[in-house]
Assembly symmetry: C2
Homo-oligomer: 475 residues x 2
């Protein structure tokens, strides 16, 4: 199955054939995540949690239900979410006095408590994270991990005494994304400030990490919001500052979308044969495949067991199945297991093993003695090369243009475009509308920390450009 | 606060003062679990998940919603749960075509899928686990971690081709409980087969781990159920056996209650000064407290930092706060941090440290060089002694009796009683009713794997006793 040419089909194919999800649960947009997927997702959670804890965040667990009166407290927020909320109305045979929302996000769960917890400057900053699920009644077509009604994510909710500290947290959130999503998972992304018309409901500013799928569409995989004091005012989150004045806190929240990060991992590293899972993430890191020869079956199987013992500490399995080696190769390649070890009568005799990389199929012949060391070395090297390839691919997909017709052609060709643009405030909305209508594309925003370009004109209206923006079709 | 004499007050006191939960969330029976608690709970999850994976279970993620038609498929099951289910009826402004239950347990989520997945003998056994939350509209008085509407737990769902293998899994579930709850957490328990009248809704047999709280009440902390073929028949989970016949699978499910295990950890190891958290579980393993002397503040604080550096790899903090050392000692003892290190001018001068154990307050004076090794050694030894004490306490609480009046007195005195009993089938229900009515106690069942006692008479009716059972008041 061609990944590049028929990405959508490829994606459906691997989801099914690699047994990642089962779509037959019977509730639209809800699916069963199978062990082949969930074991990897758990490792992604762990990496993100560790990075957040290193940055001073502590884990917390809030209820999944939010009383309706709290959800309605911040006006823009409820406007953004009210079409998407699942409501609990009954318990047993009783009607609840107040409807409970299954949380679509947790600002309105956390912040009434922040109002109780925060009194003085010594209570700040508060930096908490919650790993878990949110539910949104998505009306667009759903797609496993990419667009679902039950979303796996992490959310952080931070409160600071000053705007400067809140802004600094946005930068830290970006650093954490770089560390986990790029460095640990090899998923390249750009990090942008979203236009005014594309902000989180209730935020002053929204920043987002976008990656690029093999079909050229961009996918939002993490967002971080400068909430400013909007929620602080709605929920009364105040502190007595050292100058003796009572002030509202400054807030940020951050939501790495674990479902989508996982989808990107599959899409970006996979190839026409199936998945390629990085060595440190794969549930099975090494599969040993005995290559029997007539009359030597026992010797080979026994040797496979010896090789298995040699690899203790690595997540390794032996495939003793009845199928042919060729069939097994295909199966394990489809699952994305990063390293295959072939052992036949020759290896058994010589106390060696043939190590095969999933991505390049490069073979290394090594002694049993050095095998474990070699396997780890190859696994690590392979991931570094996967990262190099994904970054090259990513960079190739982004081009810079200065005129609407070249923008238009580039978008048609599945590119992500960097172009000068008049304004990311509501002044720019009309130019955006033309891009949206004529090109079916989105203005994703301006790279984090960038400055006003010199002497550039908006690719749509020709007025002075305030920003260089990313334009692309979105998933 | 006296833990033994006023356990209920003690429990409320530590929950609040050690900042474990906040009860002011505003939805009855739902609470916020704060970092001091949740960081430990996460480690308990990890220990259990590792033990389950070692036993061949794989992680899976099912939706939290169950369509009403599935929940109703097994008749006894829905009878047991229908008063307790939260129902989702609306999404956005739409009324859902079918009501969705917020899962109270996941048999009816898993098993329709098992019917799809299981075809032949090679698809068996299936052993999956899910870490997560279930929701029950508890009508009794709620109590944090002990009885809540949002329950943290793990559930496994296993299917086997034969009854023997299913029964063997019950034994393995018991071994896993022993390994995690007793060996890794130091919580003693007895493991019993529950009477017929106290089974899980839809099970053939129910087994449970009960621990004993400081007030003498027993608390169920894990259950494992032999489901037999009841659900297999309700959901049509069949396989083609090697003899060419189509057969129903044999099922078990297992539910360690992480909320309650955590509550037991607090209750069993704590003392009048507050919590005592085992060294390997505590978010902060070591707190360094500088003991300043007038004019030497800087030297002492600087030395504290040096000691901190020496302990890299251990979870350690320095408390530089303004409060007196005595105040700090109390605070950190309340939180249950297992090891305190005191450093004053003397230690700074001599390059030493005073290490104090939380449980016995025993002091060890050691060189900076050997400090880390010493801390780990003391931490491990402390946990072994905590286990020894908890086991002694547990054993002391259990007494054996042969007559109703001694049973009655023992129950009044807050004991857990082992007594001969006629029958755990419905034949014994009348005897149980007397115990329930007169003593407000429960027949918890018969120790796993035990045999019919010889020549004993039922403590209630005097008929021949089939079992030795545990009788106790339950939480």
């Amino acid at each position: 199955m061609k990944k590049e040419e028929e990405f959508s089909e490829w994606y459906s194919w691997v989801l099914k054939e690699a047994r990642l999800v089962d779509l037959r649960y019977g509730v639209k947009g809800f699916l069963v995540i199978l062990p082949n997927a969930f074991s990897v997702i758990k490792r992604i959670y762990k990496l993100y949690e560790e990075a957040l804890e290193e940055d001073g965040h502590l884990p917390v667990k809030f209820p999944v239900v939010i009383p309706e009166r709290n959800l309605r407290k911040e006006k823009e927020h409820i406007k953004g979410f009210e079409e998407e909320v699942f409501w609990i109305t009954h318990a047993g045979k009783n009607i609840l006095e107040e409807r409970l929302a299954l949380r679509p996000t947790s600002e309105t769960a956390f912040y009434p408590m922040y109002a109780l917890w925060i009194k003085g400057r010594k209570d700040l900053p508060i930096k908490l994270y919650q790993s878990g699920t949110v539910w949104r009644y998505e009306t667009k077509a759903t797609r496993p991990f990419l667009r679902v009604r039950e979303i796996l994510w992490i959310e952080t909710h931070d409160a600071f005494p000053t705007l400067e500290e809140a802004k600094e947290q946005i930068r830290k959130d970006y650093e954490i994304a770089k560390k986990v999503i790029w460095e640990s998972l090899g998923i390249p992304f750009f990090f942008v400030k979203r236009p005014e018309w594309d902000k989180f409901a209730g935020a002053e500013e929204t920043y987002a990490a976008d990656t690029i799928l093999p079909d050229g569409k961009v996918l939002q995989i993490a967002t971080t919001h400068l909430l400013g004091q909007k929620f602080a005012k709605a929920f009364g989150i105040k502190f007595m500052d050292s100058d003796g004045k009572e002030k509202y806190v400054w807030q940020t929240c951050y939501g790495p979308g674990i479902s989508r990060i996982y989808a990107s991992l599959l899409a970006i590293h996979g190839d026409d044969k199936g998945l390629i899972i990085p060595f440190h993430l794969s549930q099975t890191q090494v599969v040993i495949i005995p290559i029997p020869k007539k009359g030597k079956e026992e010797i080979v199987n026994e040797y496979a067991r010896k090789v298995f013992e040699q690899l203790k500490g690595v997540r390794v399995v032996v495939d003793y199945g009845e199928e042919t080696p060729g069939f097994k190769f295909n199966q394990w390649e489809l699952l994305g297991v990063p390293i295959r070890i072939e052992v036949g009568p020759k290896e058994a005799e010589e106390n060696t093993a043939t190590v095969v990389r999933r991505d390049t199929r490069e073979k290394t012949y090594t002694s049993l003695e050095k095998l474990k060391e070699k396997v780890i070395e190859i696994g690590e090297k392979m991931f570094e090369e996967m990262k190099r390839r994904s970054k090259e691919e990513f960079d190739k997909r982004i081009i810079e243009v200065d005129a609407f017709d070249t923008l238009s052609r580039a978008i048609e060709n599945g590119k992500v475009v960097k172009a000068p643009f008049c304004s990311l405030g509501m002044d720019g909305y009309q130019c955006y509308s033309r891009i949206k209508e004529e090109l079916k594309a989105e203005v994703r925003g301006e790279e984090f920390g960038s400055h006003k370009p010199q002497g550039k004109e908006c690719v749509v209206c020709g007025k002075e450009a305030e920003h260089i923006v990313f334009v692309a079709r979105q998933y």
